[in-house]
């Protein structure tokens, strides 16, 4: 596969490491009153869609950036590549 890095352009997927569902960005608050339940869901439950999937890739043999890809798991079509840091901020992970 080819991943079109937002800053560096198209790179072979061999330079990247796959992690999984981009929901891993949404780490619960440890002081939430349902923290147990939320961490259980965060840690163990994933969507497994046959179709569009938002997922985390790490450009280990590149600029060390974490990326969020929107990839179709049926066709491998990648429709969006974002810097995970921007996604994390957009999802409210700023301090």
């Amino acid at each position: 596969m080819i991943i079109n890095h937002p800053l560096l352009g198209p790179r072979d997927a061999a330079e990247f490491v796959y992690l999984g569902d981009a929901s891993l960005i949404d780490r619960p608050d440890w002081q939430d009153k349902n923290a147990d339940e939320k961490f259980y869901e965060y840690g163990y439950l994933r969507e497994n869609p046959a179709g569009k999937h938002q997922e985390l890739w790490y450009h280990e043999q590149g600029d060390r950036s974490w990326l969020v890809l929107t990839r179709d798991t049926l066709t491998h079509e990648i429709t969006k590549v974002e810097m995970a840091r921007d996604v994390a901020r957009a999802r409210g992970r700023s301090k």
Partner: protein
């Protein structure tokens, strides 16, 4: 005089070979210092770099020479860069830190990496066997810099001339990487 002295022995010290159409050598005394741009202090850091080197920090994937031509600034990612220059001993990080006046974080990377310079009309043909990137003259222009993987090893490749490249790979595996490049030259001869 101290009782003991330490002799410097970088992994590929003194390596310098010519092949048909390619030269391959390990540059002596390469100093590398990483520069990290503080969060929220990027502008100050970039100004400090410009002031220190007389050249603006380029975009990720690019490198530029300092005004005096003695140092190369390589932008690796939005918040990280290398400055590469010639210096005999691996103790130059405080000097770079001082030039940047505390506006950026610096880490010595000199002995983390071992450099190889490959040049000549057959350099690209040889690299074709191990480098997954498109390094054709039109696509990978002079000053372009990219980290990638060659023969299982992370490599920073910088185009330094018409047909010249600086390849930085990890010091501990420098001999394996040299072997990979030499094999590529042999296989394409």
């Amino acid at each position: 005089m101290p009782e003991f002295t330490l002799i410097s022995a970088p992994p590929l010290a003194g390596y310098d070979q010519s092949f048909d159409g390619v030269t391959l050598s390990a540059p002596a005394d390469l100093a590398i210092v990483s520069i990290a741009l503080p969060l929220g202090g990027e502008a100050a850091a970039e100004n400090a770099i410009s002031a220190a080197y007389g050249a603006a920090l380029p975009a990720p994937g690019k490198s530029v020479l300092s005004k005096d031509g003695k140092a190369r600034l390589v932008r690796l990612s939005p918040d990280a860069a290398f400055v590469i220059f010639t210096h005999a001993t691996p103790d130059v990080e405080p000097h770079v830190a001082a030039r940047l006046k505390g506006d950026a974080y610096t880490t010595d990377q000199t002995d983390v990496w071992t450099g190889l310079e490959i040049a000549g009309p057959r350099a690209r043909t040889a690299l074709e066997r191990i480098c997954p990137l498109d390094i054709s003259p039109q696509t990978f222009v002079e000053g372009d810099a990219a980290r990638t993987i060659m023969e299982h090893l992370g490599v920073l490749i910088i185009r330094t001339g018409d047909d010249g490249f600086l390849l930085l790979s990890a010091s501990s595996s420098a001999k394996s990487f040299l072997h990979a490049v030499e094999t590529s030259i042999h296989n394409t001869a």
